[in-house]
Subunit: 405 residues, 2 copies
């Protein structure tokens, strides 16, 4: 697959004002592909970040946490090809040095630069190459579509295609822009599916509201796709707002921004699931009737993560016992006698009883669906939620068995 | 692999007195293999059971729960080829009918019979075939090695070989016997890895102590092997004690029994992991330095269940970042600066810092090991625990994609 086959938008992104972008090659990757991505805000901007919950987190994650939320951010520097994780004190010094060099090149304080890394774990950054990448990126900054895409390319590792999305919305009589990029190689995820993302907007958010909005956006999008359940040491999503004038500080005034940004990020999240030569078929798990939305999410996540459900989806096998029983061990209470399951809108299990169905016909529907829909009712509570996942294939195993050696 | 290649003990099992065994064929399986297993206690015996934690549990599981612990048990009847799960009220009636017919044939009350089922979910039991199997089994009961093995064969589904183990121990100047069988098809687990097991002994346990001892035994053995994390609707382990005379009622007096039975069950648990054409390589995860044994167990389980760790083991890939990071998202607190990892007794990560090692040499060691040893230190706490797992292979995906259709 060509790097852009799936991801090229039909029309160019409408980029928010005030940002410049660059992708460059410092030489970190054996492949010679670009490895340094730089996003610069012309003026001090608001920055928020959501980072991995893994207790083993990479050096750049620590810096991002310390420096967000913030109102004076000027840049995000990202290297791909090396995660700078499990690298101890030296790793922290290397991450700080990346910020210092970026700051020196664009003229700001080092603390106003955020840093992300993705790639191999447990090896020190090749700092000479990293420095070369930063120098080259800082010399090629621009605000064109091409520059944006170049920055999006440079954060990729095992991704088969770059992942970008954008949208505009109107509020208070003005048009605002949201553009976003992310990386992550879905199912194949040899490097633990590190997920990096950057969202830029010109909607004027206060730093506190940027932080809370980003949490809500991530919770509804990137946190609802199943890669392989292996939370990376480096996962980071950054939100930058260059908006000038009166900052929006109330959640209600930001709701349209959150809705629109969540749409953008859900597109990216689904591209994450779609990426990877391992993944052949996608599925959506919709759970309703749980005691709460959180319970519904836990159940949906458990079904989406089950290897037996994933292999059934792979084979187009309407083996509904696997789905129902995965819900049964998820944890939240369910009411078996009110439990029902639809596969591709066809009911196979109703009120705790199996229904007769044509398995061959159902298998055909599943194999033809671009996204297999599973709708599971677990009781008569008010909680519902959705989760997206991809199947488990022989290719996943093959790729992941042959990574470092 | 022949059905007995891996499992045949070097010497016959020493069977506890007071039990008779039979395996028979009622015709439930298309393959024509035996499908009905009966274990009878000549006299009323003590029975305990541990069953699945899945909220979606099969009809026989409900009956086992209602009838244990108990001092008047006379039999365990098991059918394979149909799980009698997700079958509603009719399923409960079928399970009860299995007990009633068994009771009628051996001459006891239906309540003194326990029942287990394993096989396809969501289909009613073919009761005519089930009844035929019960009749035939009750006519062929015996207390020989052959009868015991025949009963162990008849509980199998997708198992590649029968699983039995036994041991003796001395207490109070007497020799006691423990013999056990289980079924479960490790990694390939097309039918959700339903795990059934029966332990018989002539050690005289009170019913309460039998129940608490069985919980301890299962917790240390069957609950420490990773199949694919998909808890079945039917998992059941039964303990029967035919011991006469003064019942042992104190935990300290039962400790030697628990130790010996745990050794027996750990052998069976490892056979579960070893079974399945999908599984090619096994590994042990030993965690120490956690705040508690329970924390260590959570971390070990998380490492053992990670698809990225499993595929690395499959490929003989010393990709230790996957192991360390899996510990990081397990949940219990860890101290990264005191974290160390040994693979096959070779340290690759010490006190939070990577160590240089020869990856090709390490890969060779991993590929040659019959059981790859991972030793992970996560802090300086007193908690330690072990967990056993098998790798994730392309065969696992292939088999599980092609099950019902």
């Amino acid at each position: 697959m060509s790097p852009t086959e799936k991801s090229e938008p039909e029309s160019p992104h409408e980029l928010p004002r005030g940002f410049r972008f660059a992708g460059a090659t410092g030489g970190i990757k054996a492949s010679g592909k670009s490895d340094t991505s730089l996003i610069v805000s012309d003026d001090p901007c608001v920055a928020a970040a959501v980072t991995t919950t893994n207790q083993v987190f990479a050096a750049p994650v620590l810096l991002c946490r310390q420096r967000t939320p913030r109102t004076t951010c000027r840049a995000v520097i990202t290297n791909s090809g090396n995660a700078n994780a499990c690298t101890g004190q030296e790793g922290l010094e290397d991450a700080a040095a990346m910020c210092e060099q970026t700051a020196a090149r664009i003229g700001c304080a080092a603390e106003d630069v955020l840093v992300m890394s993705t790639g191999v774990i447990g090896q020190r950054l090749p700092m000479e190459k990293v420095r070369r990448g930063i120098d080259r990126a800082s010399e090629s900054l621009g605000n064109s579509e091409r520059d944006f895409l170049s920055a999006a390319d440079a954060i990729c590792t095992t991704d088969n295609f770059r992942k970008t999305a954008s949208a505009t919305f109107r509020a208070n009589g003005q048009t605002y822009r949201i553009a976003a990029m992310c990386k992550g190689a879905g199912m194949i995820a040899p490097n633990m599916a590190t997920m990096l993302g950057v969202i830029v907007t010109d909607f004027p958010l206060s730093s506190e509201l940027a932080q809370s909005s980003l949490r809500r956006i991530v919770e509804r999008t990137f946190n609802r796709v199943s890669v392989d359940g292996h939370t990376s040491t480096n996962d980071t999503v950054v939100l930058l707002s260059s908006g000038q004038g009166d900052w929006v500080t109330s959640e209600s005034d930001a709701s349209l921004f959150v809705e629109t940004a969540a749409d953008v990020c859900l597109k990216l999240a689904k591209l994450l699931v779609a990426d990877g030569e391992g993944a052949a078929r996608f599925f959506e798990v919709a759970v309703r009737g749980a005691a709460s939305d959180a319970d519904a999410l836990s159940i949906a996540r458990c079904v989406a993560a089950s290897p037996l459900v994933k292999t059934a989806i792979q084979g187009g096998d309407p083996n509904w016992g696997r789905i129902v029983s995965a819900a049964g061990y998820a944890g939240p209470p369910i009411d078996v006698e009110r439990m029902s399951l639809l596969i591709e809108e066809h009911c196979v299990f109703r009120d705790g009883q199996p229904l007769a169905f044509d398995a061959a016909d159902m298998s055909g529907r599943m194999k033809r669906a671009s996204e297999v829909k599973l709708e599971l009712t677990v009781g008569d509570g008010p909680g519902d939620s959705k989760y997206w996942s991809s199947d488990l294939t022989e290719d996943y195993v093959r790729f992941n068995s042959l990574y470092t050696t």
